[in-house]
């Protein structure tokens, strides 16, 4: 009599008639099987947990998008993009000034944040161990963690008060300063990814060190730097707190840089906290447009990253 594999415990009477070696071998095989089964089970459970975590990670974004579309889409029309805010009680109206204002502010911030950030990133990557680099790297991480409202208060203290009023300039400076650490660190990372062999190739051809950095290294890292810069732009485009103290918002059409200027996040903030239903509906539409802008920038950034892996020619 033999036991059916996997069914009988080692103490079954049938086992006793078998030679000793075979019995212990069978016990060992059974142990292996049990371990394998357990490992397979744990594996399955863990994969399930990971799926759940991934799902939970994207759930907020899905909910936000869903809600925004449901609440905001009805107020979204061509008017929204080309009309000015309407006075209370008057139907319709749009956020043309806020949309343009946000573009102006993003432009101003980029004009400040990109050159400084990319330059600093290049320096950090090329002189990674110098004292100045260590200090800069640390401070830029600190700056990165600075609450944005603190940046707003800072700009108010040092720009708005001396200049005697709210202005697009001061907002551009505040947002630009927020961009600097983001751009600096992403530029540094991208430049570090440039293979040493490329640098050596340039130097061995008789390039000076500066020229090697500015042409070959920067050029090779460019798609990655563009990606990092776009991520930074997307990040500051939605900032509200620094604008409260600097751009302030403007009901009227203004793109003068020394005047208060409107911005989408501000307009959303004012409308969403207003007691009027049609304004609150417009706030939803504004939020939808803002998230749309950020999404488009992110997608472009993604595309730029992909181009980097292709490493195409000119």
């Amino acid at each position: 009599m033999t036991s059916v594999p996997g069914s009988a415990p080692p103490t079954s009477p049938a086992g006793r008639h078998k030679p000793h070696a075979t019995r212990s071998q069978r016990a060992a095989a059974e142990r292996t099987m049990r371990t394998l089964r357990r490992r397979r089970l744990i594996n399955r459970v863990m994969v399930g947990v990971m799926y759940l975590a991934a799902l939970l990670a994207i759930l907020p974004l899905i909910l936000i998008l869903f809600h925004l579309v449901r609440e905001g889409a009805s107020s979204l029309s061509l008017d929204f993009f080309i009309r000015m805010p309407a006075p209370v009680g008057e139907a319709g109206g749009g956020m043309a000034n806020a949309i343009v204002g946000t573009l102006v502010l993003v432009g101003l911030a980029s004009a400040i944040g990109l050159p400084v950030g990319i330059g600093a990133g290049l320096y950090l990557a090329e002189h990674r161990r110098s004292r100045l680099a260590l200090v800069t790297r640390f401070l830029s991480d600190v700056l990165n963690g600075l609450p944005s409202i603190v940046m707003g208060i800072f700009a108010w203290q040092f720009l708005v008060r001396p200049m005697g009023g709210f202005s697009a300039y001061s907002a551009g400076v505040a947002l630009g300063a927020m961009m600097i650490p983001l751009v600096t660190r992403s530029t540094e990372e991208m430049i570090r990814l440039v293979p040493v062999s490329l640098r050596e190739a340039a130097l061995a051809l008789g390039f000076s060190r500066a020229r090697t950095s500015l042409t070959i290294v920067l050029r090779t890292a460019l798609p990655g730097i563009v990606t990092g810069s776009l991520v930074a732009v997307a990040r500051i485009a939605g900032e509200t707190a620094p604008l409260l103290f600097t751009a302030f918002g403007n009901q009227f059409w203004s793109i003068a840089l020394d005047e208060p200027i409107d911005a989408l996040p501000l307009r959303i903030f004012y409308y969403a906290t207003s007691p009027y239903d049609d304004w609150r509906a417009l706030a939803w539409a504004g939020a939808l447009v803002l998230i749309g802008i950020v999404l488009v920038i992110s997608i472009i950034a993604r595309y730029a990253t992909r181009a980097r892996h292709g490493l195409g020619g000119d």
């Binding site: 293979p195 090779t220 490493l311 020619g313 000119d314």
Partner: protein, 267 residues
């Protein structure tokens, strides 16, 4: 047994210290660690010198000293001298930029810029102020011809260099170095990552190139050293054990360690 002193002393050493590249009791340190000990040798103009020896013996460090690529490494120091056409390369007036234009280098791992084939070759001359289109076209064509690559790429000069095969990319790197009109070409194991056919093409190329310039090649492939070089230098533990005609190194070396290495008893 020979003592661990510098290169082969005696009558030969004097005559060897002539040539387009001359090392004169050249020693080199990474921080406190001495990696080259009083290397003295001369490389005749329009000849090929092969540097052989086990890994870590200093041959690459020596090669990279000749165009001062080691300058990039912090805390290095040297003593002795290296001369290019009779001038010391460490003189104040000799900056690394002009030195590296006169001494081209090709690396083990081909490293074309992520640009077009044309731009890769034209980069050096452009840096030196050559802007004239027809002149540049001429330089690019002649460099590619000398690197035996012209026929394969002439119809796709504007395409990215990264689309070429490994062997083609390596020859492109040689063409890029040649476009600077160097007097000396340094090659650091240029074929060690290539298949036999691509390797053969590089070797044939070296044979043609030595008609016009001085070549120093580091190689781990002893057959390659035997095939391409006029003279061979054997490095061991940072010392130049022996330098002589390649034929003699491979048939009747004077040093026991050389013989042991080339017959595969160590290294």
């Amino acid at each position: 047994m020979s003592q661990p002193t510098s290169a082969q002393p005696g009558g030969d050493a004097r005559t060897e210290l002539r040539g387009s590249v001359v090392a004169d009791r050249y020693s080199f340190w990474y921080g406190p660690k001495q990696v080259l000990h009083e290397i003295s040798l001369g490389v005749e103009e329009r000849s090929v010198l092969a540097l052989i020896g086990p890994s870590g013996c200093g041959k690459s460090t020596f090669l990279r000293s000749i165009n001062r690529m080691n300058d990039l490494i912090p805390r290095i120091s040297h003593s002795g001298d290296i001369r290019l056409m009779g001038e010391t390369i460490f003189a104040g007036g000799m900056d690394t930029v002009s030195l590296r234009q006169r001494v081209g280098m090709v690396f083990q791992r081909w490293n074309p810029f992520p640009k077009s084939i044309y731009d890769n070759v034209a980069y050096g001359p452009r840096i030196n102020g050559q802007r004239d289109r027809t002149e540049l076209d001429g330089i690019v064509e002649s460099a590619l011809r000398r690197a035996a690559l012209w026929d394969e790429v002439k119809d796709r000069l504007r395409q990215t260099a990264l689309g070429l095969s490994g062997g083609q990319q390596q020859r492109l790197c040689i063409a890029r170095a040649l476009a600077n009109q160097p007097e000396v070409l340094l090659l650091d194991e240029p074929a060690s990552a290539l298949d036999p056919i691509a390797t053969q093409r590089i070797e044939e190329l070296l044979y043609q190139l030595k008609e016009e310039l001085t070549i120093i090649i580091v190689t781990h492939n002893l057959q390659q050293a035997a095939r391409v070089s006029d003279r061979t230098a054997f490095f061991y533990m940072g010392r130049l054990v022996e330098v002589d005609l390649t034929e003699r190194i491979f048939t009747s070396p004077r040093e026991e360690r050389t013989e042991a290495y080339i017959t595969g008893r160590f290294g």
